[in-house]
């Protein structure tokens, strides 16, 4: 079989010289196509005598394999070159802004309500709710605030308009979340553990007051619940909520018509450098009111004070949000200024949990 070496040199040379896919395909057809030079020679093998075929067969097969491999290699090299050239051309200014994907936010009041829920749920408190418009019985009488009592006047109550001929005492916008105590007791009886976060309303508007704000009420009723347990619950709450280990609370006698004994609760803090730090320093900050549920209130809720006793507390949600997150102005909570909402708000998936921590 002569000329094989020349064929080999020629085709390998042409393959190496092929500048693009089309030229390479032409070489492939010329060599290995149906009428290609190598194919034709292989077809002639059948007419050879066995001895000659024994020699020529492997040689031709070897040449075919070699050319095919060269074709594959060249094809890959050409494709690489094309891709390389394309990639060189495909330049973008990656410093251009990304496609906008506006993120929303959760209001601090909602976030703090979820924090409260996470903490108190762990201590067995459910979340109770009640209406914003209340009867004066639920808001006052049931809570041991009789009509004409000075405490009733101090509430700066909003009254609903009574239509002509309707002589019932006017309904009120609830001035505190305490009426939810009554509703929860009437609905569920004792024993009972609930918190009741929500909107409350007072006719007051100045630098530090808004006519609507938020409170959370806490109520625990059982056979032998004591004020010492109230203190523990509040200590645990403050430690978890403010995320400070060394929280110190101070109980101070006070008066609320619906609790007896009653205590204002102060938390140890420092205002050094104008910044509030909970759990250190020599100042005391009033954070909530509390006490043992007044027998009158238990009776109003259909609970027998001879059998049951318990504690209740109430605090301002907006206020503890301000303290925890350093938010300066209560009024801004309700102004819906987008800049404020984004700055003080929380991400959609930033759900407060006890295992993950309440805040990031």
């Amino acid at each position: 079989m002569d000329g094989l070496e020349a064929l080999r040199a020629r085709y390998l040379g042409e393959i190496g010289a092929a500048a693009d896919e089309a030229a390479l395909e032409a070489v492939r057809l010329a060599a290995l196509g149906r009428k290609g030079e190598i194919s034709l020679r292989m077809r002639k093998l059948g007419g050879m005598d066995p001895e000659a075929r024994k020699v020529a067969g492997p040689a031709l097969n070897g040449l075919r394999d070699e050319v095919e491999a060269a074709l594959r290699a060249r094809r890959a090299a050409l494709a690489d070159a094309v891709l390389e050239a394309r990639l060189q051309a495909e330049w973008l200014d990656v410093t251009l802004p990304a496609r906008p994907r506006p993120g929303g936010s959760i209001h601090p009041v909602s976030q703090v309500m979820e924090e409260l829920t996470a903490i108190f749920a762990d201590m067995g408190f459910a979340v109770a709710e009640g209406p914003q418009v209340e009867t004066d019985w639920h808001n006052f009488d049931a809570l041991n605030i009789p009509p004409e009592h000075p405490a009733r006047q101090e509430h700066d109550t909003f009254f609903l308009h009574r239509l002509e001929g309707d002589n019932r005492p006017p309904h009120v916008l609830r001035t505190h979340t305490s009426p939810v105590q009554i509703r929860a007791m009437l609905a569920q009886g004792a024993p009972l553990r609930v918190i009741a976060p929500g909107r409350v309303y007072r006719m007051d508007m100045d630098q530090t007051h808004t006519p609507m704000f938020h409170q959370v009420e806490g109520l625990a009723i059982d056979r032998d619940i004591s004020m010492a347990q109230l203190k523990w619950v509040l200590e645990e709450f403050c430690r978890a909520f403010f995320e400070v280990e060394g929280v110190e609370l101070r109980f101070r006698a006070s008066h609320f018509p619906f609790t007896e004994p009653s205590a204002e609760v102060d938390i140890r803090c420092s205002w050094a450098g104008g910044q509030l730090k909970i759990g250190e320093g020599d100042d005391w900050l009033e954070i909530l009111g509390s006490g043992m549920v007044h027998p009158h209130v238990l009776r109003s809720g259909g609970v027998d004070p001879a059998q049951w006793q318990g504690f209740a507390f109430g605090m301002g949600i907006d206020r503890i949000a301000m303290l925890k997150y350093g938010i300066p102005d209560l009024r801004a909570f309700f102004e819906s200024d987008l800049r404020w909402l984004r700055h003080y708000g929380f991400a959609a998936l930033e759900v407060p949990t006890l295992p993950g921590g309440l805040s990031r």
């Binding site: 000075p150 006519p211 004020m227």
Partner: protein, 805 residues
């Protein structure tokens, strides 16, 4: 309630300083608001002598004084200071009060600095009484006696070094509205010993010429006891300095000896009194309910018209005083008064409160009577006041004129020393508990405790525990763990509705909305735009005209918020709120709502051309996403929203049969204009409570059924009347083979002028893709053709649509 430390010491034998007293009061429940120590305000003012006063070289009305001062105090070295003074009485040799530069002058609030006055240096000030807030006198500088100690602090010499303590008194503690009651609390705490209060009993020299009579209607309730006596031959000049100083220290203006005496007893022992000029009383005094329509000019100079039932004190000529609230001007005492009738009565708290509130009069008397004064102190208080009148104003007293009697408020409660431990968690021996109650004036007989007459707030056994705990102090209470209701891992507590609301909130935020909390009350006009504004939702006493009505919907608040943000330059917004909306003014006539509002473009301008105006389909996508997160089923019927605040052609509802779960759409341009919002603006509102609860809570998922056979998609384009809704086409197509057709989806709409040019007036084209999902074998071409033919047929029958050529 304000008092001074020395006033307290009239009643309490103690060596405690103001800070110790204040700390104890706060702990006892008499929260201290402020301790005003006059040293801070007046401590820099010292007694100085004018060495020489000469006329100012450049000003006729000013004088140039060389003043001798002793900066290190009396006995220290003298330092001469030059002061320019405008007072006419500044003269050589006088002794006055000097303030060095750096002093804040209380009367003007100005910080004193060295300066040049008309070209002459002035390095301090000689002060007037007004500048020190001692009186209103500003005619000249203060002149002290020649023997006043030079260099000493003025407050020490003048006896003004008396801290003023201001406490907040809770409504249950009327006894703490008198210095005596405060002293009693402190004594019970162990901060001193309560001094005895000797009972004055000035003799009556003549029968009282003014008779008193309580109308029988009021004797049972209203005015159980009315006492008085006349003092004749009095001189009503200024009260003595000690009394004036005390009243001024607590913020009262001294008026005359008689008036100052009544004010003194009001604050000293919570015993409000009234003094009449007896010469101006015609006949006797009658305590009676007003008939209605009477008019009275009170001591505040205002005329009050009385309603029937208000309590009045009248003489033969007519009304003279508003019982327990304020005296009348006509019978008030003046400097010319020589005969005074001193009134001391016990008025019913509720009646006084109701009248005071109706007439809008706030007075120290009303404040005290409505909280409850000590009924048993009615006559002793009158006697003490009479003694002071005799002492300060002279004259002789009549016998008492009394009608009625001290009401019987006696009661007792079981005292159980174990309750303190059970209820509070404090350990205190029984003897100590009994001693505390006794110190507070309780009478203990066996295991019954009788509260004192000055404590109307004590109404049960729990009050006894409170008193003992309060005096023992709650500060040392140690926390005791509250076990979980059931041992082990904490149980979930949220209701389905609460979880639903939380998911809706977090989903809305994830969709790009910022959560707002807006007021539950809005203005009438905004409420009316959203179907509200009814009388039942109106507040009787709104705080402003912007907050008069309970909101019928959350959108007005969000739209107002959007307008405010637009005014600040934010044109593109997405705001949402979760909260109550009101359908009426009864409790429970409220529904939790979730509302979202998008205004402007879906994003800022960017180089990728992604900015576009928000439209109704953004709102619908958001509504569907929030509904899904809140647990609504996937397949909802889309209807048209009819309420007036939506664009009539571009708003819809998502419903389950008759139950509407959500509305979405473009807001009506008129609503936007009324609320100053620049559009486009789209919104959704949804009612989480309308979402049906799952019938049973199954935690395991239904089995996943996948088909192994190839799914087939076929596209169809129909030419239809332009007002045929896509939903009709989809429903019809689905009906072609309910088993085989897994999904029908609209993927193109060709409508508008260009479409009509091609397809004919009032026509449009709608393209759908139908996905076939065989369950048991691969479909043949003939089967696919058969289903396709049925789709075309169904759509044609239902909508009149024909396959587009």
């Amino acid at each position: 309630m304000k008092f001074t430390l020395s006033w307290l010491k009239d009643h309490l034998d103690t060596s405690a300083d103001a800070a110790t007293v204040a700390a104890a009061l706060t702990d006892l429940g008499l929260e201290v608001e402020e301790v005003a120590d006059p040293v801070g305000r007046l401590g820099a003012f010292t007694i100085a002598r004018v060495i020489e006063a000469v006329p100012h070289p450049n000003a006729d009305r000013l004088r140039l004084c060389r003043v001798a001062t002793w900066p290190a105090g009396p006995g220290g070295p003298m330092e001469e200071v030059q002061v320019v003074c405008g007072a006419p009485n500044a003269r050589t040799g006088m002794v006055g009060i000097f303030a060095p530069p750096g002093t804040r002058i209380p009367g003007t609030g100005v910080d004193l600095r060295p300066g040049m006055i008309r070209g002459v240096a002035s390095n301090g000030m000689l002060c007037s009484e007004r500048e020190l807030e001692l009186s209103e006198d500003h005619d000249g500088i203060i002149e002290l006696p020649g023997d006043a100690p030079l260099g000493a602090r003025y407050i020490d010499w003048a006896g003004l070094n008396d801290p003023v303590i201001h406490i907040k008194v809770t409504p249950n503690r009327p006894d703490a509205l008198g210095v005596r009651g405060i002293a009693r609390d402190l004594a019970a705490r162990g901060l001193g010993v309560l001094k005895p209060q000797p009972r004055a009993a000035p003799a009556g020299r003549f029968p009282c010429p003014v008779t008193v009579a309580i109308d029988p209607v009021l004797k049972a309730r209203g005015c159980p006891l009315f006492a008085g006596r006349l003092v004749r031959g009095v001189t009503n000049g200024p009260s003595p300095v000690w009394l004036q100083r005390r009243l001024r220290a607590i913020g009262l203006r001294p008026i005359s000896a008689l008036v100052d005496i009544t004010n003194f007893f009001t604050f000293d022992r919570n015993r409000p009194l009234h003094v009449f000029d007896a010469a101006r009383i015609a006949g006797g005094l009658r305590i009676h309910p007003a008939a209605g329509g009477e008019r009275l000019v009170a001591l505040d100079g205002k005329t009050y018209a009385l309603a029937p039932g208000m309590m009045l004190i009248s003489d033969d000529a007519g009304p003279e005083s508003l019982a327990g609230i304020m005296g009348g001007e006509a019978s008030g005492v003046t400097a010319a008064t020589t005969e005074v009738f001193i009134e001391s009565a016990y008025w019913d708290p509720l009646t006084v409160a109701a009248t005071g509130r109706a007439l809008r009069i706030g007075s120290d008397a009303r404040y005290r009577f409505e909280r409850g004064v000590d009924p048993e102190d009615t006559v002793p208080g009158l006697e003490a006041a009479t003694a002071m009148v005799l002492e300060l104003c002279g004259g002789e007293a009549s016998a008492l004129a009394v009608d009625g009697a001290v009401p019987d408020n006696s009661r007792s409660y079981g005292f159980d020393s174990g309750r303190l431990k059970r209820l509070v968690g404090l350990d205190l021996p029984e003897a100590a508990q009994r001693a505390t109650l006794a110190a507070l004036g309780f009478r203990l007989v066996g295991d019954r405790a009788h509260p004192p007459s000055w404590r109307p707030d004590i109404q049960g056994e729990a009050d006894l525990v409170e008193e003992v705990a309060r005096i023992a102090s709650l500060a040392g209470l140690q926390g005791v763990p509250l076990p979980r209701p059931a041992p082990g891992v904490a149980r979930p507590v949220l209701t389905a509705a609460q979880r639903r609301e939380g998911m809706a909130r977090r989903t809305a935020a994830a969709l790009g909305y910022s959560e707002c909390v807006t007021y539950s009350f809005i203005d009438a006009a905004a409420a009316a735009l959203f179907g509200g504004g009814a009388g039942a939702c109106r507040l009787d006493n709104p705080i402003s005209s912007e907050m008069t009505h309970l909101r019928p919907d959350l959108l007005p608040g969000l739209l107002r918020a959007a307008a405010r943000n637009q005014a600040r330059g934010f044109a593109d917004l997405a705001l949402f709120e979760v909260g109550p909306a009101f359908s009426g003014g009864e409790p429970g006539e409220e529904t939790a709502m979730v509302a979202g509002l998008r205004v402007g473009a879906a994003g800022p301008r960017d180089p990728h051309g992604s900015r576009r105006a928000v439209d109704v389909f953004d709102a619908r996508a958001d509504a569907e996403a929030v509904l899904a997160a809140a647990g609504a089923p996937a397949r909802l019927q889309v209807g048209r929203a009819a309420q007036g605040w939506w664009h009539p052609g571009r708003a819809g509802t998502l419903a389950l049969g008759p139950r509407v779960l959500a509305a979405f759409g473009e807001l009506h341009p008129r609503v936007l204009a009324a609320l100053d919002v620049r559009g486009p603006a789209v919104a959704f509102t949804l009612w989480p409570a309308a979402i049906p609860a799952p019938r049973s809570r199954t935690i395991a998922r239904p089995a996943l059924r996948l088909s192994d056979y190839q799914t087939v998609e076929r596209d169809f384009a129909f030419v239809l009347d332009a007002r045929v809704e896509a939903a009709a086409v989809v429903t019809a197509a689905q009906g072609a083979d309910k088993a085989l057709i897994a999904e029908v989806r609209v993927f193109d709409e060709f409508a508008g002028a260009r479409a009509e040019a091609q397809l004919g007036a009032g026509r449009k084209s709608l393209a759908i893709t139908v996905r076939l999902e065989p369950r048991d074998r691969t479909l043949t071409e003939a089967e696919i053709e058969a289903v396709s033919a049925r789709v075309v047929d169904k759509v044609a029958r239902a909508t009149g649509g024909v396959l587009r050529a």
